[in-house]
């Protein structure tokens, strides 16, 4: 298999009211650091508190990265907008709330 290009950028936000923090944990020193999702928090201190509540029972290492500083790249056909080219071509609107209100 040819190496992926990772030239698809997934740059939509992961949160808006509060900052989103990508969360990584390691359960033992021999383990790889593992992405376990994200928490919403206004500051890294609050994010750390939340991550500790959720994973403190098992993790020995927590890493928190601001989602808005995290650059996400995907190979062709992986990201949502890339998974269904036919679907995208058939779409008629942009899906915004628009003037329904």
């Amino acid at each position: 298999m040819a190496p992926a290009e990772f030239d698809t950028t997934v740059d939509e936000p992961r949160g808006d009211v509060s900052r989103e923090w990508e969360l990584f944990v390691r359960e033992a020193t021999a383990d790889p650091l593992h992405h376990v999702g994200s928490v919403s928090a206004p500051s890294v201190d609050v994010a750390r508190e939340q991550a500790t509540e959720l994973f403190g029972w098992t993790a020995e290492t927590l890493w928190l990265c601001p989602a808005d500083e995290t650059h996400r790249f995907a190979a062709d056909g992986v990201a949502l907008g890339d998974r269904g080219a036919e679907t995208a071509a058939e779409s008629t609107t942009d899906g915004s709330g628009g003037d329904a209100l």
Binding site: R14, H34, V39, S40, E53, F55, L80, G81, S96, A100
Partner: protein, 405 residues
């Protein structure tokens, strides 16, 4: 979701049909079996809402939020859900009717073999829109009303919301859509409970879902109006009494309780006292098959930006994002130790839950409320209202019921 009417009065629960009928139609047994285990997926397809409700778990805003999934992305999400075998997608918000492409998305879900249902405040549901939604394949409309007129309007932040919600209910019914009530019980509106049921049954509504307050979004900010344990027990008893009274009068309303699986244990206790031991055992068996709190297993949530949550109320923690990989891959990834542990909860529950005789029909209740205690994700739900005697645990005696591991 616990069907009080089914358990106490033997009525077939509409929710069972909503969840499983699509799977039952499949000719392949492995697909039927697979779909039976897949979660109902709540999709908060927008954060925008025309109201500003005090208890909104999604913390919806009146203005559009950035990063909402587009129509094309929404369709791809629905394809992913169909591929994974999700039986039902619940369009929620914000207010899903704020999306002008809602009919298109509902139709797409229906064509993909997922049963589309709608959770709405009802105020934007016109006759025309209801008709188009029915034609697109919508199966059910749940309209939120939280008390009598003045109480509801104060709670929802807009005068006239109650009357417009009733108009929406009428429009939905006129279109031939199965329509039900969603009612979040708090100290403020608990007195209105029977009155609202009486009012809406007169208007032809026969399905009533009573939600316990969960502590997500703005719901976390109003814990002071949440019912006390004693008040909660009394409210649930009133739902049980009311359901039986309606059925005894020949009016077979459907009533459901959502969001606090202490209700499961309570229903067994209630049945033992009011209906009989044999029925109580039958009810407990049914609830055991039902499986207790569904967080991270039988219910999933995708928010307006594509973040996947373990329940719609738990928006502050996300397992991943459907823009990065398909929903099914995120949901199946038990390398996440929290997801794995919550699916194997009996190995981790602490405190009185560890020794509770109703653990297998409750599974600790709300993990979000448990987290609010600061005792971690496996602590007891602080809104469990069952007595030590009922659950078979002597907490007053200082017995250590710590985690099993």
């Amino acid at each position: 979701m616990i069907s009080v009417s089914k358990l106490l009065c033997g009525l077939d629960a509409e929710g069972d049909g909503l969840r499983y009928d699509a799977a039952d139609k499949s000719s392949k047994s492995q697909i039927r079996d697979r779909k039976q285990r897949r979660p109902v997926v709540v999709w908060n397809c927008t954060k925008q809402c025309n109201l500003y409700c005090q208890h909104c778990y999604a913390a919806a805003e009146t203005e559009p939020a950035p990063g909402e999934l587009s129509t094309a992305e929404g369709k791809q999400l629905l394809d992913d859900l169909a591929d994974y075998g999700a039986p039902v997608v619940l369009f929620s918000g914000g207010e899903p009717l704020a999306r002008e492409d809602l009919v298109e998305l509902v139709g797409y879900a229906s064509d993909a073999g997922i049963r589309p249902v709608l959770s709405t405040n009802g105020t934007l549901l016109t006759e025309d829109r209801a008709e188009r939604l029915r034609e697109a394949g919508l199966q059910y409309v749940g309209v939120s009303v939280d008390g009598r007129r003045e109480r509801n309007d104060e709670f929802r932040g807009q005068e006239g919301a109650f009357d417009r919600a009733l108009e929406g209910i009428e429009a939905s019914q006129n279109a031939g859509l199965k329509t039900g009530l969603r009612y979040t019980i708090t100290k403020a509106n608990a007195p209105d409970l029977e009155g609202i049921v009486d009012l809406l049954t007169d208007r032809g509504v026969d399905r009533f879902c009573f939600y316990h307050l969960d502590y997500g979004g703005r719901g976390a900010d109003i814990q002071d109006v949440d019912l006390s344990r004693e008040e909660r027990r009394e409210a649930v008893k009133r739902v049980c009494d009311m359901t039986r009274e309606y059925h005894e009068r020949g009016h077979e309303i459907e009533t459901l309780l959502v969001g606090n699986y202490a209700d499961a244990g309570y229903l067994v206790e209630y049945a033992r006292e009011h209906v009989g031991e044999e029925q109580a055992e039958r009810i407990e068996g049914y609830l055991r098959r039902n499986g207790g709190d569904p967080t991270g297993e039988r219910v999933a949530d995708v928010d307006y930006q594509g973040n996947v949550h373990m329940t719609q109320f738990w928006q502050g923690y996300s397992l991943g994002n459907v823009r990065d990989r398909p929903f099914g891959d995120i949901w199946e990834d038990e390398s996440n130790p929290l997801l794995h542990a919550l699916r194997n909860r009996s190995d981790h529950l602490t405190g009185k839950c560890a020794g509770c005789r109703y653990q297998d029909i409750c599974r600790g209740g709300s993990r979000l409320r448990a987290l609010s205690t600061g005792e971690g994700p496996f602590a007891p739900d602080p809104q469990c209202y069952l007595t030590d005697e009922e659950i078979g645990v002597d907490t007053a005696g200082g017995v250590d019921h710590g985690a099993a591991d």
